[in-house]
Amino acid sequence: MRNVDTRFLSRLKDHEEDAWYELFDVFGPALSRMIERFGHRCFTPDTVRDISQETLLRLSREIHRFDPGRGVRFSTWLFEIAKHVVAGEFAHRNTKKRGAGVRPGSLDPALEPSRDTPGPPEEHERSVFRAKVYRAMRVAGERLEFLPFEVFKARVLRGMMQKDIAVAMGISEPTVSRYLRKAREVVRETIREVVAEYSFTPEELAEPSGASLDRDDDSFDEALAEIHAREEESRRGHDVLSRTARSLSFGRE
């Protein structure tokens, strides 16, 4: 097994504020969707946000107790802690109804899942992987110049042909081709880096190849477009649900 103590884990262990923000920025939306599912729409968007933050906070606080040598996936780890926090929230609500106090449950089993621990639903794992790829695209956007990345976006996200991009941008076709080559190279490299940073098991590291992200240019573009479209759709759907829930909860008030 590779050395799984990634740079990201070290940063979390050092309590770097940036690392916590990164954790929330990258996995927050996926986590919120999962918590919403746990809550069966019992939670208002504010509660979902609170539980997401609580989950990630616990994760970053207890990071020194995490042993990546067990070969547990990052998504499983997130899932277990979120499950624990959600269970705590339900317990708190129930005891509140009875007018009694609540005793917090132990976080230990959630922090120390083993290989045999049943993993999260497949959709959650996929959404965590999509979050990694999305993060990689954003990092690549920061690394690349403005125009090459815009050309890449036009080709991959909008599905435009090179010739059309050249006409719309007012640059030559060889320049478009050069920009695309450069951008693809950077995006591929960034995906490799980001996936390695947030992955603890060989299966997670192999996920990009499973999603056709290590194939030829056309397959790569297609796979990336697909992942991005799913991620965007999921974020948009999540927000629409949140807004609906918000308006319902306001209505109750």
């Binding site: 940036d18 719309a168 941008m169 927000d239």
Partner: protein
């Protein structure tokens, strides 16, 4: 038996076929849908035609009322506007009837041309106050006419009119009222009050007041609908996945141009809005209006950045910087509004929020020249537009070229002034000479520097740093020398203070006197002043009672307000190193009253270089064992 079973199937198929044919744009389709559509169409047209005399009569009545109000001298601008709206309603009803007819005859293009773009703007929700006997402190000046939803804050929003001779007069206004006794928090009051003076100069706040436990301000009341609704109406007209018609794109660009002009004005006055989103933009008959000043922040504010804002329209970089505890004045805060403007532009073109930030896709075909502007506004780091003015230059140039060439699709993005970036045109064709991108000259605020290459920027920063350090040393040396020569050196209070305060005390003693003389005030009272304090913003000090008192006095004088923990430091210095926290708090007047002593607070912070502010206030319960000597005053 089989025949009986076949009958409903065949009948269903026949109905489906008829329905299919009826939906087609052909004479047959028209004929088939005639019996269904005709009654509704006739009712619609009759309704529209009936609306014409109704609007006409209503317009005449309102005109008469407005005339009467004018004669009795009640400044009825709103009454005249209402009359005008009724007459516009006549034209709209006729246009609507024509559009209905065209739509019925299967000419959607003609119908779209005739359909009124925006009907008379609906009035916002005004809930009359019933059974609420509370008397608000502003009711001697403003009469409450209704209440609005307050959004996310703990404030109460009232629709008010000014009171003159015990009668409401003039236009309707919105009054935002915070009360500590009604659940408002002190930090909210501080946040809302910090940009008031600038907002008043800009005309977006008409009046404001800070009292013992409450704070309120008055803004103009804009009748209209939110940009969210207006954009939704535009997008409803066009099916998903199809490009917006040219007329709608022009509308969107006009809105965007208006918004950028407003934001440019904010930045020129040295403030950022920080919560730009379609819900905070009102589309009125006179153009767009940006509302909700809850997060208005001076660009030169020394307060720490906060993460307040609206998801999807808030710059992620701002959140990062806020979590790092950076102060507003240490970052280029105007760029946060640029991001939000880009997100709003995305919303207007797409009809939905940018769920993936700068990576969000357009599902409608959007001309590259426009999508590139959205990307540039939402880009990270130095790739973003450095100022709103640069974005505005792009928008205006694109609109000009589109008018000349007959559509945005025909303009290559390379003709945008920003295409080559802001370091000069490294790639692509040269920038057009007639539309140079220049950052605006901000009054009293350092203009945002255009993006520079890394090394050059580091060199400039280092040079500036060295120059500042050398100048500061020279200045301190000169002050110490002059302090040793003149009577100022005997100011024992100043000597007891930490160095950075003492130096300023010595310098400011004279400047205070000069300014007071220039203002026609007698500066002799300065002789009895026990301490001069340099202050800047600090959250610790914001919590002290004295801060509110100081702010109230400053608000009365219509100046910006800044307070500081330096004051506490100064008090500690005066009381001695052994002073306990409660003694310091007591000296600042938090825990006890007592005899009041005059002091001068120098308020530093936004705009202080151009507008020096002095306050004759009171230290409560503070005993000074070292007074200024008689000769040390001005």
């Amino acid at each position: 038996m089989v025949a009986w079973l076949l009958i409903p199937v065949l009948a269903g198929a026949a109905v489906a076929l008829l329905l299919l044919l009826a939906t087609r744009r052909s004479p047959l389709g028209l004929l088939l849908r005639l019996p269904f559509v005709l009654p509704f169409w006739a009712l619609g047209v009759l309704g529209d035609l009936f609306a014409v005399p109704v609007h006409l009569a209503s317009g005449l009545l309102r005109t008469g009322w407005a005339l009467f109000m004018t004669i009795i001298g009640n400044a009825p601008r709103e009454a005249w506007r209402a009359a005008g709206r009724e007459f516009l309603g006549v034209a709209d009803a006729m246009r609507r009837a024509a559009a209905r007819l065209a739509s019925f005859l299967g000419c959607p293009e003609v119908a779209a041309r005739w359909r009124p773009r925006a009907g008379p703007p609906p009035l916002p929700r005004v809930v009359p106050r019933r059974g609420d006997r509370r008397v608000y402190p502003f009711e001697d000046r403003y009469r409450i006419e209704g209440r609005l939803g307050a959004g996310g804050s703990t404030a109460r929003l009232f629709v008010v009119r000014r009171v003159h001779r015990d009668r409401p007069v003039g236009d309707r206004m919105v009054l935002k009222y915070f009360d500590l006794g009604l659940g408002s928090r002190l930090d909210e009051l501080v946040r809302e009050s910090r940009g008031m003076q600038v907002a008043k100069e800009m005309g977006i706040v008409l009046d404001h007041r800070l009292e013992q436990n409450c704070f309120w301000y008055v803004m103009p009341f804009h009748e209209g609908e939110t940009l969210t609704r207006a954009a939704a109406r535009v997008h409803r007209r066009t099916p998903e996945g199809e490009p917006l018609p040219a007329a709608d794109v022009s509308t969107v660009l006009a809105w965007m141009g208006d918004l950028l002009r407003i934001l440019d004005g904010y930045h020129r006055h040295g403030v950022i809005h920080k919560d730009v989103k379609p819900d905070n933009v009102i589309v009125t008959a006179d153009g767009l209006r940006l509302v909700d000043l809850g997060l208005l922040t001076p660009l030169a504010s020394a307060l720490t950045l906060t993460t307040h804002g609206t998801e999807y329209f808030r710059d992620p970089e701002m959140v990062k910087l806020a979590l790092k505890g950076r102060r507003v004045k240490d970052v280029d805060a105007a760029r946060f509004d640029v991001y939000s403007a880009g997100a709003v532009f995305f919303y207007l073109l797409e009809g939905s929020f940018p769920a993936c930030g700068p990576l969000s896709r357009f599902t409608r075909p959007v001309p590259m020249v426009l999508s590139l502007m959205v990307s540039r506004a939402m880009a990270e780091g130095t790739k973003r537009y450095p100022t709103i003015a640069a974005m505005r230059a792009d928008l205006e140039e694109a609109a000009r070229l589109a008018a000349a060439e007959g559509g945005f699709e025909r303009i290559p993005a390379s003709r945008l002034p920003s295409f080559g970036g802001f370091d000069g045109p490294a790639e692509g064709p040269p920038l057009p000479v007639e539309a140079p991108v220049r950052p605006p000259v901000l009054e009293g605020v350092e203009p945002a520097e255009p993006a520079r290459s890394g090394r050059r920027r580091v060199r400039i920063l280092l040079s500036v740093l060295v120059a500042v350090v050398v100048a500061a040393n020279l200045w301190t040396f000169a002050r110490v020398r002059s302090a040793g020569d003149g009577p100022a050196a005997t100011v024992t209070t100043a000597a007891a203070l930490p160095d950075r305060i003492a130096g300023t005390v010595l310098e400011w003693r004279e400047q205070v006197a000069e300014t007071l003389r220039a203002a026609g005030d007698d500066p002799s009272w300065l002789r009895d002043v026990p301490v001069l304090v340099v202050a800047d913003r600090s959250p610790e000090f914001e919590r002290l009672d004295l801060a509110r008192e100081v702010r109230r006095r400053l608000m009365d004088r219509r100046v910006s307000v800044d307070t500081s923990a330096v004051l506490e430091e100064a008090v500690r210095a005066v009381l001695g190193p052994g002073a306990t926290a409660s003694e310091v708090r007591g000296a600042l007047g938090v825990e006890s009253g007592g005899a009041e002593r005059p002091f001068v607070l120098w308020v530093a912070g936004p705009g202080i270089s151009s507008r020096r502010v002095f306050l004759r206030g009171y230290f409560r319960d503070l005993e000074f064992d070292r007074e200024l000597p008689a000769g040390a005053g001005p």
